[in-house]
């Protein structure tokens, strides 16, 4: 089970609304490389992991990703608060607004809703861990793109934090994969 802690993993206080930027960042909420997919990917894959390190890393990184989902939702929420209809129209937020208002909806930057087709759960330890390594790099690349498009330091600081965590997760998944490969080399059955 999970307990909820009433605090963000990293503080977010954005002074200026920016709905255009919010639409870009929303992809890390519900896009193909976003935090929703990340948490579901790891928390789903862990059931068939054949050794303890893998079960631990998938459970604990999957849990941290839920906290990151909350952070991305917070960034989007704070970037879109108190908008007037004029601002909505002027800043290219109309298409989103007409369907979702100022609600937070899991979709990518182009408007495609989140899909389980963006993740895998293969039941195979090597296939799943390779997917996880790629997923962390893709998420890191999207955060890099966001950092190229965002000037506001209130937004950049939490995004940089999230980007850094992808790198750490990649490291941990790499260690688990090496362990899996070593075990295969010893002809140990999974």
């Amino acid at each position: 089970m999970w307990n909820y802690e009433k605090m963000l993993q990293y503080p977010i206080k954005i002074k200026n609304a920016n709905p255009k930027l919010a639409k870009f960042i929303l992809t890390q909420y519900g896009g193909p490389n976003g935090e929703l997919g990340a948490s579901l990917r790891y928390l789903s894959q862990r059931y068939t992991m054949p050794f303890d390190e893998a079960k631990g890393v998938l459970s604990d990184i999957g849990t941290e990703e839920l906290g990151h989902l909350e952070m991305v939702g917070t960034i989007v929420h704070q970037l879109t608060r108190n908008l007037t209809p004029e601002e909505v129209k002027r800043q290219g937020f109309g298409e989103y607004y007409v369907d979702h208002g100022l609600g937070i909806y899991p979709q990518d930057a182009g408007g495609t809703p989140w899909s389980a087709a963006s993740m895998a759960s293969s039941g195979d330890v090597i296939a799943d861990l390779q997917e996880d390594l790629a997923a962390e790099q893709k998420a890191r690349a999207v955060y890099d793109n966001i950092l190229r498009l965002a000037d506001d330091p209130d937004v950049r600081e939490p995004i940089k934090f999230l980007r850094e965590r992808e790198v750490v997760h990649f490291q941990r998944f790499g260690e688990v994969l090496r362990k899996a490969q070593d075990m295969q080399g010893k002809r140990k059955f999974f």
């Binding site: 963000l8 206080k13 390190e53």
Partner: protein, 127 residues
């Protein structure tokens, strides 16, 4: 003794971040005793900080030891609200998240795992 809500919350955040990072590190290095010691020390500090925070500012988590004189779980700031994330004036604009000695998030994350995987990426793109 720290008393401002923001300062207490940031202290708690830093300790929890250190714990989380040690948690992931220990998952793949379960026999590293120095990391385990750091985990235990940090965990104790975190319990003290959390109790201190909850005594002054209300529940951080359902089921904490602190006795509740009234139900303010719903009325204290929710994490996505600006009022939940005040920045202390006079201190750095960013949360000094990381270990107590001032290491950054990335440094703590890499504290013992200088493997082939992270290095390739950290050299990555200029931002």
């Amino acid at each position: 003794m720290i008393v401002s809500r923001t300062a207490l919350q940031n202290e708690l955040r830093e300790l929890e971040f250190t714990l989380k990072d040690l948690n992931l590190y220990l998952d793949t290095h379960p026999t590293d005793l120095s990391a385990l010691t750091e985990y235990n020390t940090t965990s104790n500090k975190r319990d003290v900080a959390k109790t201190h925070y909850e005594k002054l500012y209300g529940l951080m988590e359902i089921g904490s030891n602190e006795e509740q004189p009234r139900w303010d779980w719903i009325s204290t700031a929710w994490p996505w609200e600006e009022r939940a994330n005040e920045v202390d004036t006079g201190s750095s604009e960013t949360c000094r998240i990381g270990a107590a000695d001032g290491r950054t998030a990335g440094e703590v994350g890499d504290m013992a795992g200088k493997g082939i995987y992270a290095e390739a990426v950290l050299e990555g793109v200029e931002l």
